[in-house]
Symmetry: C2
Subunit: 358 residues, 2 copies
């Protein structure tokens, strides 16, 4: 246990909503060794909770019900700390994150895999709480968890719990052509206020003592993407959930992909008072802070008003906003028209100051 | 760095074949933050190495080329320590492991995802060596790596590097019906010597000082499975790569699935002299030790001789052997006829004494 001494309370201890007694049952190394305890853990703790969203046993490769549609495949690992944060936890985040990767690629999320990397000593009650959250999010987003894996590593080899979810979805026509196809005049939209996830995780992790705690936007983007597909169809160029690096990172990636300048207006950016306050306090720009249920999208010139009106009917997206436009490449790949009128290049930082946010 | 003090040299330090200078370039937290350094790491270090086995960029959900065939989906996370061991490393292991899960499920492995969870401070030269190994194994097994994810966590939050691979394969007819369909008289076969992977990892990790070092059997099972499918067809009941918990864990799972007794004969079990020697020294039973390129299979009564002869033509499987038979349920789910004639129940240990073997 010595390697844990002096370590800050990451993992499950911080902000954990489960009351864990001193001698609570914990995950042991033997739970991960493939023997009887492994089978008991999987059958009696994991499969029981996931059963409503899982049609088969989780230890083999799963057969996907045949559909004629083309498929999309994605993967994401989640290392967020703390495991529980205002507005979500690592379990729901692992489902929504992969669901969103599929949704913004133009696919209907259908099947997920779930791989748990557990630190020896994690209380079973904490694991179960997280699996319940996985099951709830999978039920809400209508995905089935069809294959799984469980590893237990000795204390200190992983901090609490990491989760990987891979996802398969069915591509829906028309599939957005992607950022390489951005045209001059295309309009840029965000679906909601910026930076809520990053600020929520940081406020609780750094124990900033803010009341009420800012909430993560962690949630599924598929209903919004699907509604836009049905009404705007091929007028959608590309979509992306603005996770690590925030909206700024997506803007820079898209500018690189199309070779044009993406130009946004500061006064149109939706930001909640809590996120604005904490960002100012810490010297952060909400454009660079992670979201987990907010996307950037680009639509054909003239389609933004309809797209924004549509998004604003969706709960949580009332503040969807047209934030800019695509231009021929100018002095910088991404520019911001500041509220006072100056147009400046938007910084493309080497990294962001918020590790383990997702 | 304090949390690392006193920690045994796990991760990359032990048995690392890459010479790392004192001030070598290392992975930093900023490499994982979604900004410019993340894009540079992915484009200039990761994609360049994976390019021969990857048809597209790795940061989006990938479209799978349409095929009419039913698909299988699987996932596996790899937490082996040390990262390099005799006969393989975490990179090739992550490819073969998922390829084998698909192969024994009756699928031709086609597409993989690759998710890296990297500890801050891992030398880039070590990461590159592992990615080269991923690319080599993917090329050899004809799988494409179509989607990826990279997370960097602060020092101490993960030990060196974890890798998750999820895999999609195309099911090939006839798909083996699985262990629930085992019948009295069915014959049990192993494709090669037992316990080589577990002993190889442990010998180097525990610095047992054995020369020559025992080698892992880490490798692809697909060629062998495919050849058996073509010759034996529907006479194959089920197959399973005998990883964590070894052949014993698979026998116990199968016995549970079919409600019969699986009865094996000790004298027919292939074990190398090195594995036998180290197992005796440490009081371990090779039946309980992990393999990474060796499978258990069950075939219809009368088909074992043909299956074994077929396997013995495949490099590395010269010692394939018929090891037992399925009977009506007797006193124990799995029994071993010892060399001296006594028939004993085979222990189903709670766990095994070898964590982080895969």
């Amino acid at each position: 246990m010595t390697e844990r001494e002096g370590k800050s309370p990451g993992g499950w201890q911080l902000n954990c909503p489960v009351s864990v007694r001193d001698h609570a049952e914990c995950v042991t190394l033997a739970h991960g060794e493939g023997g009887r305890l492994s089978r008991k853990l999987i059958q009696e703790r994991i499969l029981i909770i996931l059963q409503p969203v899982s049609s088969q046993s989780l230890d083999d490769a799963a057969r996907l019900p045949h559909s004629g549609q083309p498929l999309a495949l994605t993967t994401d690992s989640f290392v967020v700390t703390p495991l529980f944060f205002p507005g979500g936890d690592i379990g729901s985040l692992a489902v929504y994150g992969t669901v969103n990767d599929l949704a913004v690629s133009g696919a209907r999320p259908r099947w997920l895999t779930l791989s748990l990397m557990i630190e020896e000593g994690l209380p079973l009650a904490v694991l179960e709480r997280i699996l319940e959250s996985v099951a709830r999010a999978a039920g809400e987003t209508a995905v089935q968890i069809v294959a799984g894996d469980t590893k237990v590593v000795p204390r200190g080899a992983v901090d609490g719990l990491f989760i990987n979810t891979a996802g398969v979805g069915e591509l829906l026509e028309p599939v957005p052509p992607g950022p390489a196809q951005l045209q001059r005049g295309d309009e840029l939209i965000v679906s909601g206020p910026l930076g809520q996830h990053g600020i929520a995780v940081m406020a609780v992790r750094e124990e900033l003592g803010i009341e009420p705690l800012p909430q993560s936007d962690s949630g599924s983007l598929f209903p919004a993407v699907d509604q836009l597909r049905l009404t705007l169809g091929s007028r959608i160029r590309c979509l992306r959930d603005a996770t690590r690096g925030g909206v700024a990172a997506v803007l820079h990636e898209w500018a690189e992909a199309c070779g044009k300048t993406l130009s946004i207006e500061e006064r149109t950016l939706p930001v909640t008072p809590e996120v604005r306050g904490i960002s100012e306090l810490l010297g952060l720009d909400p454009l660079h802070i992670a979201n987990e249920g907010t996307m950037l999208l680009a639509v054909e010139q003239g389609a933004a008003a309809e797209a924004v009106a549509q998004l604003q009917t969706i709960p949580g997206m009332e503040r969807a906003s047209r934030i800019g436009v695509v231009r021929e490449r100018g002095v910088a790949p991404v520019t911001v028209q500041r509220t006072l009128g100056v147009e400046q290049p938007l910084a493309d930082p080497l990294g962001s100051p918020l590790p383990r946010i997702c």
